[in-house]
């Protein structure tokens, strides 16, 4: 084992948080710079990990194992393969841009950044750990700071949304933990190590069925699976900009990742049995989210429901249980993460300047903030699956996989694309086009620094859209291996 790069990535936000705790409350600039530096380092390290990662090797790489409570099979065991290397990269990019976007924050700065970094620690942890106990632990670490972040720094009905979100996510995690414990006790190996369980244990088919659907729904809550999605639009709307970015961009992917990493990984046969059911739920997600989004008047609600719709594509891709579909799902996770982060980063600026997010009060913003409008439109076009941007390859892959296995879901996906076009274009039309509202004569466009932050996200959308191989090469070997070798 060489230099523990994964642990280093994980430690970046922890160190940042500790440093911030020892920084005087008044030096806000220093706090922001510390957060920027640590998140910058985590981006850098993630890129090193990405670079060092060998996609053709389907085994775990860069493993780090420290036994922690070996009597109970709890080990600190990290490793990456094609499934999570992209997610780690995504997390570090989103937190980095999230810190940049929060640059103007001036209320309780110290607590905000400390909590934000704490949250990211949890997210990194979930993505890299291979031990169910740590999976759960990091998951809780990722969820709990969210409550404070939304309830203190949020807007629009924030206490309600924060409470709802927390309760929902904890409910999901309670499901998850119950199943983890069942796996632990039934496995007989008395270990939480995912790989050991995978290799050594065969489960009773009846148990597999229960465990799979329990995990699917438990993680599905976080992934915004219909009908457990209602926390997400409310939560996204209430959360402050950086938190919305992390939340929709990364946290929802935790759920989908959990489904792939644990549920699909341990119980492939049960996945087969439940696939029609989960595909139906996913289809509901896609159409329901898109149709409800057409009715929203608040920009953030539109994005919130569009996330529900887009996560449906991820879930559908998983449910097809084909290499193509799984590749598409993983790609969509990455692409959607970047896209929603960009969306929320743009809406955050609009809200800061105009103090409203309602279409009817906005209008003609493109006159005053052309650059930001361009960014928003690019995000919107990604959302509606325009070729050349990263939304298209992912949707295409899922569509092809779905047409084969579940034709109706496939058609629904395609219809969802049309509905998405309608609401995205309508939102753009109402908020950015038309005559300028008199109240907004004074608003300013983003400065160079903010331009840089959002520009990173745009660059990713375009690069991956034009050259999807960059991402698919990472995931293709492992999905092929998992699905064809029968997990």
């Amino acid at each position: 084992m060489h230099f523990g790069i994964l642990t280093s990535i994980l430690l970046c936000p922890v160190i940042g948080m500790i440093l911030i705790l020892f920084t005087p409350r008044k030096s806000e600039q220093a706090i922001k710079i510390i957060s920027l530096i640590v998140s910058g380092i985590s981006v850098f390290l993630s890129f090193i990990a990405y670079n060092r990662f060998d996609p053709s090797n389907v085994l775990l790489q860069m493993e780090e194992k420290i036994s922690w409570l070996p009597q109970y099979g709890i080990n600190y065991w990290n490793g990456v393969d094609g499934l999570n290397i992209g997610m780690i990269l995504l997390t570090s990019i989103v937190i980095f841009t999230g810190v940049i976007v929060s640059w103007k924050l001036n209320y309780r700065v110290k607590e905000f950044f400390a909590l934000l970094l704490f949250l990211v620690t949890g997210v990194f942890g979930v993505f890299m750990t291979l031990n169910l106990f740590f999976f759960f632990l990091f998951y809780e670490v990722a969820v709990l700071p969210m409550y404070l972040l939304i309830a203190i720094w949020g807007s629009t009905n924030k206490e309600y949304a924060a409470l709802k979100l927390t309760i929902y996510l904890l409910l999901g995690s309670a499901f998850m933990f119950a199943i983890f414990l069942a796996i632990y006790s039934l496995a007989g190996a008395h270990t939480f190590d995912l790989m050991t369980i995978k290799d050594k244990v065969t489960f009773d088919p009846a148990f597999q069925k229960i465990a799979y659907i329990g995990l699917f729904l438990g993680c599905g809550v976080l992934a915004g699976c219909w009908p457990f999605h209602v926390w997400s639009p409310d939560g996204h709307v209430a959360a402050p900009t950086a938190v919305s970015m992390l939340h929709a961009g990364v946290l929802m992917k935790l759920g989908a990742y959990g489904i792939i990493r644990v549920a699909l990984f341990l119980f492939p046969q049960a996945a087969q049995a439940w696939a029609p059911f989960t595909a139906t739920l996913a289809t509901f997600n896609i159409l329901y989210g898109a149709l409800v989004a057409t009715q929203q008047r608040d920009l953030k609600y539109v994005i919130g429901y569009s996330s529900v719709s887009h996560m449906g594509i991820v879930l559908l891709g998983i449910s097809t249980l084909t290499v193509t579909g799984l590749n598409g799902a993983l790609f969509q996770m990455f692409s959607h993460g970047i896209m929603t982060a960009l969306f929320f980063a743009c809406v955050g600026h609009i809200y800061d300047e105009c103090h409203t997010r309602f279409f009817d009060e906005l209008g003609g913003l493109a006159h005053k903030i052309p650059i930001l409008s361009t960014f928003f439109i690019i995000a919107g076009l990604t959302g509606l699956g325009l070729p050349g941007l990263s939304g298209f390859p992912s949707e295409l892959l899922v569509l092809i996989a779905a047409i084969k296995t579940y034709p109706i879901s496939g058609i629904a996906t395609a219809i969802g694309v049309v509905v998405t076009t309608f609401y995205v274009v309508s939102a753009i039309m109402k908020a950015f086009y038309g005559p300028l509202n008199k109240n907004f004569e004074h608003i300013k466009d983003i400065d160079l620094w903010q331009y840089f932050g959002r520009g990173i996200l745009v660059a990713f959308l375009i690069i991956l859209g034009v050259w999807p191989k960059l991402f698919l090469n990472l995931v293709n070997p492992i999905t092929t291996y998992l699905l064809l070798k029968g997990f």
Binding site: K164, P387, V419, K469
Partner: protein, 616 residues
């Protein structure tokens, strides 16, 4: 070398787009120059390519790379195919783009800072269109098909301050995306069943044999829905008239000459596949006929010059589809080519009028003295006569070829004749109103523009007028069917005298009726809406059908879902759970009386019971 040429052809508009987008503010003025020179470069390269490979039909040139690996066995490619069909389209697209961009310099001169945005979008469009034409597989075509739609959306909504323009751009985008739904599904289905989307593979006999007949019909019909959206076929034509909200040169380029022809091109591209299903061919023929008829009749009552041309475009696109549906692929492509020239000419000329008179209404133009614009009216006459199919203008030859293709289908043949009657009628109506009903202009209102701008406006008009004369002859015996042979070496292109006579006769009939109505009876603009005219003014209720019926149905359903989400899922289920938890808690707190002795009593009773049961 070939590769380099191809990259120059497909890449130079992209370079122009990127350069304009990234230009610093001070240099934005050179945007038109960049855009024009790069599109010209593209045109030159395609010409050069053709000169180097005159025998391209026998040995098409194809290159490709892997773009996306879906799984072990399935990958998507990017690649370029060069054969006669797309070389022809490349010429048309890059040439018309070039002229339109030159014209735009004059037309958009007052736009100021928006000018660079305009030229950036135009370059983006040219990039997408050229790549659509040059691509060697269906998926890549779909990709650029969508990007073309995006460029069209951006350009229709170019004046984004105008609510009507943004509405129109939204309508165009959503309606074409609705059509693309089918195309998207067709791509997915073909991927599943063939695994290879290259045009050469799709249209090979083996592929057609390996697919079942039903599947071919399904797939071709699905592709055709995409074609309907983009090529404005009935009933998805509704976006095209509204798209006239965009700047006029844009209408000339995108909404008449190139983008809307993409559907025709796509059908021609997959002609072997389409021909394999007689149901699809019949469908294309029927929808083409409907479109041609609807467009031509609607054009007869418009007063907005751009709307006349827009409906005429719809009608002509219908004619092209009719030719394709009737099995004459070369007639369709030939008409596409001639139409591209004379219709962009007409649009640009109308743009010149609009620029001069600041109105779209032909009656107002006549009032303000349209007769003074001699050159413009002259080119409108050239374009119009061509559109009406008058000998010896370009439209005459191509239309006759279509009529010939329809010869063995009497119903459709009659319909095509009817359409040409209406066409000739609205063309002469336009000409008569603009010239003979024009007032004498006030001389002092003349304002002189700089000579460069005048040149920019007149040069494309004259070139296109000349071009639309020549291009017609290229399909005739006089020039040995050069163009026809270019499209398809087997093309016969014999024109029978009887057909020519009928065609001309019908056109003259249209002329006569227009003459009677507008010069003899001197009909004035607003005519009372009665009967058929009412239907026409309602645009055959198609807009209403889509907006009021489908649109509202979907929105009402969404509103229901929204209500369901807010009230049932969120209200009853989620908040209901929360509320009942709270109520249950409140109920249980009643036990908590605060009276010490009540608690003690409970403890005592329970303790006694426990002891009793333990001891017993």
């Amino acid at each position: 070398m070939e590769l380099f040429l191809i990259f120059t052809i497909v890449g130079s508009p992209l370079i122009a787009f990127l350069m304009i987008a990234l230009l610093p503010h001070r240099l934005k003025r050179i945007a038109p120059l960049l855009s024009i020179s790069f599109i010209f470069l593209s045109f030159l390269s395609s010409l050069l390519f053709f000169l180097k490979h005159p025998q391209i039909q026998e040995t098409p040139f194809e290159v490709q790379w892997t773009w996306l690996q879906a799984n072990r066995n399935l990958s998507f490619n990017v690649g370029f195919l060069m054969d006669r069909l797309n070389l022809l389209m490349l010429f048309v697209v890059s040439l018309v783009s070039f002229f339109v961009q030159v014209f735009s310099v004059a037309y958009m001169a007052d736009e100021g800072r928006g000018q660079s945005r305009y030229f950036a979008f135009l370059s983006l469009f040219s990039f997408a269109m050229i790549n659509l034409v040059a691509s060697n597989n269906l998926l890549q075509t779909f990709i650029f098909w969508e990007l073309v739609g995006l460029a069209s959306y951006l350009l229709i909504g170019f004046w984004y301050q105008k609510p009507s323009a943004t509405e129109a751009s939204r309508k165009a985008f959503v309606v074409t995306r609705l059509g693309d739904l089918g195309f998207y599904l067709a791509v997915a289905l073909l991927t599943l069943h063939l695994g290879n989307l290259n045009f050469s593979a799709l249209n090979s006999p083996e592929a057609i044999q390996s697919l079942s007949g039903g599947m071919i019909t399904l797939v071709t019909l699905l592709i055709f829905t995409g074609v309907m959206g983009k090529s404005a076929q009935f009933p998805l034509h509704i976006w095209l008239p509204d798209a006239m909200e965009g700047p006029t040169p844009v209408s000339a380029l995108i909404h008449s000459a190139t983008m809307v022809a993409a559907g025709v091109f796509l059908t021609a591209r997959n002609y072997a596949l389409f021909s394999a299903s007689s149901i699809s061919m019949e469908t294309i023929l029927i929808f083409g006929t409907l479109t041609a008829f609807v467009g031509a009749t609607l054009a007869t009552i418009q007063n907005d010059i751009k709307k006349i041309l827009a409906y005429s475009t719809i009608s002509q696109l219908g004619m092209m589809m009719m030719a394709l549906g009737a099995g004459s692929f070369e007639a369709g492509m030939f008409h596409l080519t001639t139409h591209a020239f004379f219709k962009s000419l007409l649009f640009l000329a109308s743009g010149a009028l609009i620029h001069h008179f600041h109105t779209n209404d032909i009656w107002e133009m006549a009032q303000k003295g349209s007769r003074s614009q001699v050159l413009t009216l002259l080119v409108i006459a050239v374009g119009g006569l061509s559109l009406a199919g008058i000998f010896p203008f370009a439209g005459f030859w191509s239309k006759d070829l279509i009529l010939e293709a329809l010869e063995h289908k009497p119903v459709f043949h009659a319909a095509a004749l009817l359409v040409s009657f209406f066409t000739s009628y609205y063309v002469f109506r336009l000409l008569f109103i603009l010239y003979f009903r024009s007032e004498t202009p006030h001389a002092h209102e003349e304002h002189h523009e700089s000579s460069l701008l005048t040149f920019c406006m007149n040069f494309p008009l004259i070139s296109l007028a000349v071009g639309s004369l020549i291009v017609g002859f290229m399909g005739t015996d006089l020039m040995h069917h050069k163009l026809l042979k270019f499209i398809s070496p087997e093309a016969e292109g014999k024109l029978s005298i009887e057909l020519m006579m009928t065609g001309t006769g019908i056109a003259v009939l249209g002329l006569a009726v227009a003459y009677w109505n507008y010069l003899k009876r001197k009909i004035q603009p607003p005519i009372t809406a009665t009967g058929f005219r009412r239907v026409l003014e309602k645009k055959y209720f198609m807009d209403d059908l889509f907006e009021k019926v489908f649109g509202r149905m979907v929105l009402a359903f969404s509103a229901f879902l929204n209500w369901f989400d807010k009230q049932m899922v969120n209200g009853k289920m989620v908040n209901g759970t929360a509320w009942s938890t709270l109520r249950l808690g409140a109920l249980l707190t009643k036990v908590q009386s605060g009276e010490l002795q009540d608690y003690l009593m409970i403890v005592f009773v329970i303790a006694s019971a426990v002891i009793y049961f333990l001891v017993k």
